[in-house]
């Protein structure tokens, strides 16, 4: 118990230290990438919960990210003024709509970001429930391919749909208003507050997941991961737990999509691309499949480096190589087990190291 809170406190310390360091060195612009890193980390920790604790791979989480981002982006930019009707006036009277001005000074009547966010989450839950039911019955190759397929379908839809901006995506998404006059926006004047907001959201998500892991449900998931048939025999509703974890991780991805879309002021189809999904899995893998803190810290490092463009044109290749190396030499992740004993076992081909299928 104490260790859990110690880790959280240490992480808060790290986040504050990073900000103070950028303040001291006058490199405040790094905070922009670090804020985006935070939102991507939200996807990573959710996916880590699914892969590491429920033992189900998903190669389609960029799809859920895109569902969140696109719903939020579309609803907060689509002008309802020319679509007056019963529903619009009902929404308008209940305060669900906001009028604002676009960059050219024209007035817009759009859905309130909070309502748009709720709609995005709701749609994600529905989709995740709908596809998760049949998909999670599959295993191994089939599960990997099916989730990959879901991701590609979302990608094709956002790429081919005219009102979602097709290849251009959605732009001019307004900031996301929070109580206390705070606003999630990429505006450089509120860079510091947004940095703390973003990591605050991630930390909230972490606390939620950590508590979940240490609860009855978490222990049940551990049993499901270890030996599914045995868990089922003990009376654990394995299918339901797997589905709920899938939906939860999808919601994390969608929320990240919503917030990052508001922060960036837009979203494009590349966010739904297969490479993004693969990248999320790569980071979870390198962080240690069942290690939330490992996944979070790897996400902090790798997403930041990638967003700063350190890998240049080799960006995708770097994540491909990471995937291969981790899976070849340390399939349980770098930060989970002792790398050296792993290597020794691989070299000596000790059958004791044989993993469960």
């Amino acid at each position: 118990m104490a260790r859990r809170y110690f880790a959280i406190a240490a992480f808060v310390g790290l986040i504050v230290a990073i900000q103070l360091a950028t303040l001291a060195t006058g490199t405040g612009y790094y905070l922009t990438q670090l804020t985006m890193t935070a939102y991507y980390s939200l996807v990573i920790v959710g996916l880590c919960m699914l892969i590491g604790y429920a033992g189900q791979i998903s190669l389609g989480h960029a799809g859920f990210f895109a569902i969140g981002g696109y719903v939020a982006g579309f609803l907060t930019t689509f002008d309802l003024k020319s679509h007056q009707g019963a529903i619009v006036s009902l929404l308008s009277n209940s305060g669900a709509l906001v009028s604002r001005h676009d960059v050219y000074g024209g007035s817009l009547l759009t859905v309130h970001p909070w309502l748009a966010c709720a709609a995005a989450i709701l749609l994600t839950v529905v989709v995740a429930y709908f596809v998760g039911g049949p998909i999670l019955k599959l295993k191994g190759h089939y599960l990997a391919m099916a989730t990959l397929g879901i991701g590609i379908i979302v990608y094709r839809i956002v790429l081919g749909t005219e009102f979602l901006g097709a290849a251009d995506g959605i732009s001019e998404v307004p900031g996301f208003p929070l109580p206390g006059g705070l606003l999630i926006t990429g505006d450089s004047s509120s860079r510091v507050s947004n940095y703390y907001l973003a990591w605050g959201v991630v930390l909230l998500g972490m606390v939620l997941l950590l508590n979940l892991i240490h609860s009855r449900i978490g222990r049940a998931l551990g049993a499901v991961h270890g030996a599914e048939d045995a868990a089922e025999a003990m009376g654990i509703p394995t299918a339901r737990y797997k589905l709920h974890t899938f939906v939860l991780s999808a919601v994390f991805a969608a929320l990240a999509g919503v917030l990052l879309t508001h922060y960036n002021g837009g979203i494009g189809p590349s966010e739904a691309g297969v490479m993004k999904s693969v990248r999320y899995v790569a980071i979870v893998a390198i962080g240690g499949m069942a290690n939330l803190w490992g996944a979070l810290s790897m996400s902090l490092v790798l997403n930041y480096l990638s967003l700063r463009g350190y890998f240049g044109t080799y960006d995708d290749a770097v994540f491909g190589v990471i995937l291969i190396l981790i899976m070849l030499f340390a399939p349980d992740g770098l930060l989970r087990r002792h790398l050296f004993s792993d290597l020794k076992r691989i070299v000596s081909r000790d059958p004791a190291g044989e993993e469960a299928p």
Binding site: G140, H141, A144, M145, T161, E355
Partner: protein, 294 residues
């Protein structure tokens, strides 16, 4: 009515390619129980290498060399990434082969850039066509279908008539028993990667004049090939041909109902539908599927 046949021919052409990719999947799956997600990359490599070599070599020689190069790549992949793993889990293999496919794609991007390339038509040109009762068929389409049929026939003969083919099938059926009979199981796996790389490359070269080739054209093909392999029943290559035709034709006619932009989503929706309803495939038996390891 002519349009109907025109679409049908287009569907069969694409179906042949999907079937070739699916057979590549099946060969490796049968020998190792691994789905090689980099299968589409072999097709891309075959096409790309043939185009490059055709710059200074006659077409037939360029294609043969391209197939040889891709076969070597297949062997190298197996030796580097697969051979020395001790009983890897399925998830681990899935992720490794996905990593390999990303790696090949990125290397191709750095070698060839983002340009779309094509081979010249083997016979005739892009505008010339053969009139078969009102339906105009490009000669290249006949090449695709002919080479596809030939490849399937050659593989069937190889697996049933030659000693090497029989040894491979023995390894697929029971690796330990095959090893006891003195068959080198490790080499058989390498061979299976080489054969599926070769057949992928042949497919890539022969379809290249029609569909063009780009550094990232492998992944969509791999997904369709996988769909077809599942549709036919994983591991069953004859069924893959039938399933390939079904998918190619469905996709071809889907343009009548849905915008072209969603064409890609059709095959995936079919894949998901099959996975949900009957994971053993429409031609496969559920009984046999239960014995397979996923």
């Amino acid at each position: 009515m002519e349009f109907f046949f025109q679409y049908l021919v287009a569907g069969i052409t694409y179906g042949t390619i999907y079937a070739i990719v699916a057979i590549g999947f099946n060969i490796i799956y049968n020998a190792t129980g691994i789905i090689n997600f980099a299968q589409g990359e072999f097709v891309m490599l075959g096409g790309m290498t043939a185009v490059t070599l055709n710059g200074f070599l006659p077409l037939p020689l360029a294609i043969v060399l391209a197939v040889v190069v891709t076969t070597i790549v297949g062997a190298v992949i197996e030796i580097l990434f697969i051979r020395w793993l001790y009983k890897p889990s399925v998830l681990r293999m899935v992720i490794i082969t996905i990593g390999v496919s990303i790696l090949i794609r990125e290397i191709a991007l750095h070698i060839w850039g983002e340009n779309v390339r094509a081979l010249p038509y083997f016979t005739g040109s892009s505008v010339s066509s053969i009139n078969l009762g009102g339906v105009y068929i490009s000669s290249q389409v006949l090449w695709v279908i002919g080479v596809g049929a030939l490849a399937v026939a050659a593989l069937t003969a190889f697996f049933n008539l030659t000693m090497l083919g029989r040894q491979m099938r023995a390894c697929a059926a029971n690796r330990d028993a095959a090893r006891l009979c003195g068959i080198d199981a490790g080499n058989m796996v390498t061979l299976s990667f080489m054969i599926s790389a070769a057949i992928g490359a042949i497919g890539g070269a022969v379809v290249c004049p029609i569909t063009y080739v780009q550094y990232d054209s492998g992944t969509p093909l791999a997904i369709k090939g996988f769909t077809v392999a599942i549709l036919g029943g994983l591991g069953n290559s004859t069924a893959a041909v039938g399933a390939g035709m079904i998918l190619g034709i469905l996709e071809s006619f889907s343009i009548w109902v849905l915008p072209t932009a969603y064409k890609e989503a059709i095959s995936i929706a079919i894949l998901l539908g099959i996975l949900f309803v009957k994971p053993s495939g429409i031609f496969g038996s559920a009984e046999a599927a239960r014995l397979k390891e996923f």
